[in-house]
Amino acid sequence: MAHCERASKPLLQCLRNTYSRSVAGVQLQTRAFQSTASVREPEAETPSQPFHKAPDPSLVTSPRLERRLLRQGTAPIGSRRRRAALQDSENLPFEQLPYQCFQEARKILLADREQKLKEIEVMRQRLARQEALTDQESGGAKAKKSRVTAMQLHLERLKVLADINDPAVKRKFEDNEGDMSKPIYRFLADRKWREYRRKILVQRITQMNVVPDVLPHCDPVVDTKLYFGKRQVQAGEFVDAKLSTSAPKLDVQIFEGGEKLVTIAVVDPDVPNVENNNFDYKTHFLAVNVPISATSTKVDLAQLLEDSQVVLPWLPPVAQKGSPYHRLSLFIMEQKDSQPLDFAAFKAKENNRDNTLLRTLQSRYHLKAIGAHLFRTQWDDTTLEVMKEIGFDNANVELRRKRVEPLPYKRRNPSSFR
């Protein structure tokens, strides 16, 4: 708290002084245009309530108050440094900040935005013309399709470029107020996800060998978060058996426009098979035709429709005592052209938990993995209880390592010894 306040103090003092000294006459005028209310005003209205009793999410800087706010369910806005700066600021609208250089720079940015908007208009018209053409006129269906997709990509790019330099957009995104139906906020969210969270996810699924074991290849393009109850589970975390008895909730954020239909599967590739001395696969959950879009991200696996979506309902994962940990890998797979699969046929065919390989499903129904997540289970204090609850066969059997018989002693090449 103290650091950021100290850091922002000189700037703020400078700002206040210049403002009051040089633009004192203009102050009232600018105030009149101001759209947002001054921060100081509500405080003045309620002097009876001290700040620490009712902290303002846009002004709070102490970690303790921040934590209290978070517990109440409101996240403090932006960064702590920004909130500290807001405490002392006049709360001027961004466009009216009294810096000449700043205003000149804004002019350039605004001109650039105007140009981009014109380009977008031109591109839209060209795209419409191209789409209106018949296949013969544009030289074959394939050529037309490639041209149209290239144009659409360029249009999306222009839409992002028009807004990317807007400080108000940046601020809104940082305050988590971005509207995900707009391309610019999707672009910013995607970039932020790729900077850290996606790297962690890819590292986990490759280091724990989920990717060659369950699926041959996966390039995650959607951000997936997994919750058991209220608790968020990081990729690869160990989850207690008791906690995972009920189906998890997902938060699937896609960064493209439009709605997609996806198949969601949870597969355990580590079921011990004592007879064959190797490991089996088990499907713990399978659902098809789940709609997701950039704005509707929440998927509760327990709330999906029994008669049109859930093929295999949630089976609580348990690990036998002594067995190596189980990796429960969750895959979100895009259905081809976002077309719904035939639920009845799917359910009739894929009703076996044990003998369904995700690789087979992928090739059979032309699915494409776009998201992944992972958690692990091992034997813990609550496992036995859960095993009895779900009627696990070998609840009272534990696995022990087989003794390794040493090789018989063999004198190697005795003639060379003295």
Partner: protein, 269 residues
Amino acid sequence: MFKPRVLTPLRALERAFTPTIRSTPTQSQSLLRTLSATSTFPKTTPTPSLSRTLLPFTQVRHASHASQGTANQHSRDPAGKRLGAKRSGGEYVVTGCIIFRQRGSLWFPGENCGMGRDHTIYATQSGYVRYYLDPLKHSKRRYIGVVFDKDEQLPHPRNAPSRRKLNMTPVPMAEGVEAQSDLVASVDENGVHVTDAEAVKAESGPQLRPGYMFREANWEIGRAAEKAGITAMPHDRGNRWLAWRKRQQRAERAAQLKSLKGKKKASKK
């Protein structure tokens, strides 16, 4: 290229002077001889003086120095460390079997292999040894791996699911606390009889322990706090006040011990 052109005038000069030069040495030698005979100057030739100015500190190692130390040269040669391959490619190994001993990581552990503290490569599964390169994993490293089938090749394709073995047996789970017994000795006219005390359910209180005492078993004493429901306060990193108090106490105790130590020494003296 320069040589002929530069040398031609020199050669011409040489040709012009040769007769005189050829004639001179005898004269000069005789002249020198007369000089040395007449004067007390030390006889100096121009060449040695030149070499002395150019290389003033040339060291000379005489035979007496060079010969020293050769007699013990062989004893400095250390014993061989028996490094190298202990199991060749295709040979059967069991879990824990050492495959390669090395200094530094000349070879890296591949499939089903591990690397020890001294870079020794050992098998973590029973199977057949393979020495191989895996350019997709690392362009330069050489790997040692173990495969389960005799005709299996390494490296596996990138997308293939990994081949694993369970190597475990199912055992009925042990339930509750097992009865524990102790040795008891009884003396009568026939001699000393050492027998097992009857197995007592360990939770049933004190029993005869070695050393002829009735008390609870050690493991039970260790669990006394747990049974009584006493729990230690969970450690809180943020509680700096408690941390400070503990640190103070430790420092005080250390100071006390230190002072005692000093007194002891003083009394001895």
